[in-house]
């Protein structure tokens, strides 16, 4: 290349098209590829099995439609849906309230003690990694069948979800106001309430709304293991081969989840 201003040739460096790959990176790629291929090969549906399933699906649909419209049954479904929503709302609210202090204690640079951050991060990870159905089984055994077990399940599940994102939102909050308040002698708790939470508020609300959406979906299936809500009705309908009733319940669930997503989406847009 000729440098026009200096009128002399400039030697430009030749850059590699692809970055250098170390032996360890190459081995990791091979291992990841092998895991993906073996997973697909072992547990993915074969075209033959899918083809065999289609007529059975058609038969099931035939037995499901038209859905049950008996007013007495629909009334029972309605009250079960109300209970489902109550489980979701109570569980989410309790979970969010507990997540706030836990998120704070797990947030690096925000928590009052450095030592607590690791402990509370680990606790939140534990709550998050155990699936909600397992929590439901544990609470059904400990507090008995019904909605209370469902509420406790949603609460723990919400702590696992919100605790992590609340902590991260607090860590990401603008540091400058925090430093300014620290300089005038404000306590860590006052800094949290005066500067961190107001700054992280859109993120906290967003996370809470996602948690509520998630809780509504979770509370629907908790009844399958006896933790109250509409899932219990759905399970007994399938167990008794009452597919038209099951179809009505599934439509009701679809409707309630759709409404919930619409409401939370509107709220999110109005807040952020």
């Amino acid at each position: 290349m000729v440098d026009k201003t200096m009128n002399r040739r400039v030697e430009l460096p030749q850059l590699d098209r692809v970055g250098k790959v170390s032996a360890i990176q190459f081995t990791l790629w091979i291992v990841v590829g092998a895991i993906i291929i073996s997973s697909i090969y072992n547990v993915s549906p074969s075209p033959q099995r899918v083809a065999e399933g289609v007529p059975r699906l058609g038969s099931l649909m035939n037995r499901m439609f038209p859905p049950e419209t008996d007013p007495e049954f629909l009334g029972r479904v309605f009250w079960r849906l109300v209970e489902t929503m109550q489980i979701a709302i109570a569980g989410t609210v309790l979970g969010v309230l507990i997540s706030l202090p836990i998120g704070w204690l797990s947030a690096r640079g925000i928590a009052p003690l450095k030592a607590t951050t690791f402990l509370f991060k680990a606790l939140i990870s534990f709550f998050r990694t155990v699936p909600d159905l397992i929590w439901a089984l544990i609470f059904v055994i400990t507090v008995g069948l019904g909605a209370v077990a469902g509420t406790m399940t949603i609460m723990v599940d919400t702590i696992g979800f919100c605790g992590r994102f609340f902590g991260e939102a607090m860590e990401d909050a603008d540091k400058e106001p925090q430093e300014a308040l620290e300089a005038i002698g404000a306590s860590k708790f006052s800094i949290l309430c005066g500067a961190v939470i107001p700054d992280a508020m859109p993120s906290l609300i967003n996370t809470t709304l996602f948690a509520l959406e998630k809780a509504v979906r979770s509370s629907v299936v908790l009844g399958l293991v006896g933790a109250g809500g509409i899932g219990q009705e759905l399970k007994s309908s399938f167990d008794l081969f009452q597919y038209k009733k099951a179809a009505a319940i599934m439509l009701a669930i679809f409707l309630i989840v759709l409404i919930m997503e619409w409401v939370t989406d509107r709220l999110r847009r109005s807040i952020t």
Partner: protein, 278 residues
């Protein structure tokens, strides 16, 4: 005495005026508010940021601390009030004497009498101007009421409104800070510092993030408020004009030492050029 009583003549719009027109003549009390002896700051084995500095700041003085980038202005400011530990020497500030870092109780006493203003306004952007001024009360007893204006005591709210009035921003009290201009936000930051009724204002490049006009406006208000209330003001700046126009005294740092320490009246821009030259 309320803040309103103290600043009632500052609520009107103030024009940027030469210092000689200032309604507050330079009357300087001689009792030292800050005194540093042989002050040294060093990070690890690196070259000292500054060493063996002797500085006395009297009550009521307005002092500009100038120097090129990296000269150690902000570090010196923080060391003088115990926000950063110093490596050698001794500091006395607001009747508290310490070496290295002040004890926790000492630090609380020192901070309770200082109003801070930073280069960026450092306000909670999603909170209103009033809430941000109320935040100035944090660090005091019962300070949970300083989290938000809605739960602040009537006396604190009144003080916060008076502080906003003194920077001519009462009409913006209920507006979120992120809706304000840079100059207005910095004035809110001054009100937050003022609401504490401090003995000492510490300002780190208070006008650096503002355009020249807003910068002068903020500095003019800041200095007027300090003078009116006999609050000692120490500010860092890399703007020679600000140093000469608004300070009683200019201290220049260069190569880790005090290059110049003189009354601003005795200085010209030409004198200060040496501060920034290689």
């Amino acid at each position: 005495m309320s803040i309103t009583d103290m600043h009632q003549d500052l609520t009107g719009s103030e024009r940027i005026a030469p210092r000689s027109d200032s309604p507050h003549p330079k009357t300087v009390n001689t009792s030292p508010l800050i005194s540093a002896q042989k002050l040294t700051k060093q990070y690890g084995a690196a070259q000292a940021v500054f060493s063996n500095l002797d500085i006395d700041i009297s009550e009521g003085e307005t002092v500009a601390l100038i120097g090129s980038n990296g000269a150690g202005k902000s570090t010196l400011l923080k060391c003088l009030i115990g926000l950063l530990p110093h490596s050698g020497g001794q500091v006395s500030v607001l009747d508290e004497t310490f070496s290295g870092r002040p004890q926790a109780a000492q630090a609380r006493r020192i901070r309770s009498d200082i109003g801070f203003v930073f280069q960026k306004h450092c306000l909670v952007s999603r909170a209103t101007a009033l809430t941000n001024v109320v935040h100035g009360m944090l660090g005091r007893a019962g300070s949970w009421r300083g989290w938000h204006q809605a739960i602040a005591s009537p006396a604190w709210r009144q003080s916060a409104m008076e502080a906003l009035d003194s920077v001519n921003l009462v009409h913006k009290a209920n507006e979120r800070v992120d809706q304000l201009s840079g100059g207005q936000a910095q004035r809110v930051a001054i009100a937050r510092a003022l609401v504490r009724k401090p003995k000492l204002f510490i300002a780190d490049e208070p006008a650096a993030s503002l355009d020249p006009k807003s910068g002068h406006d903020v500095m003019q208000r800041f200095v007027n408020l300090s003078k009116k209330n006999n609050i000692t003001l120490m500010f860092t700046s890399h703007d020679m004009q600000h140093a000469l126009q608004y300070a009683d005294r200019v201290i220049a740092l260069k190569n880790g030492s005090i290059f110049l320490d003189q009354k601003s009246d005795d200085l010209t821009a030409q004198d200060l050029k040496g501060v920034f030259s290689g």
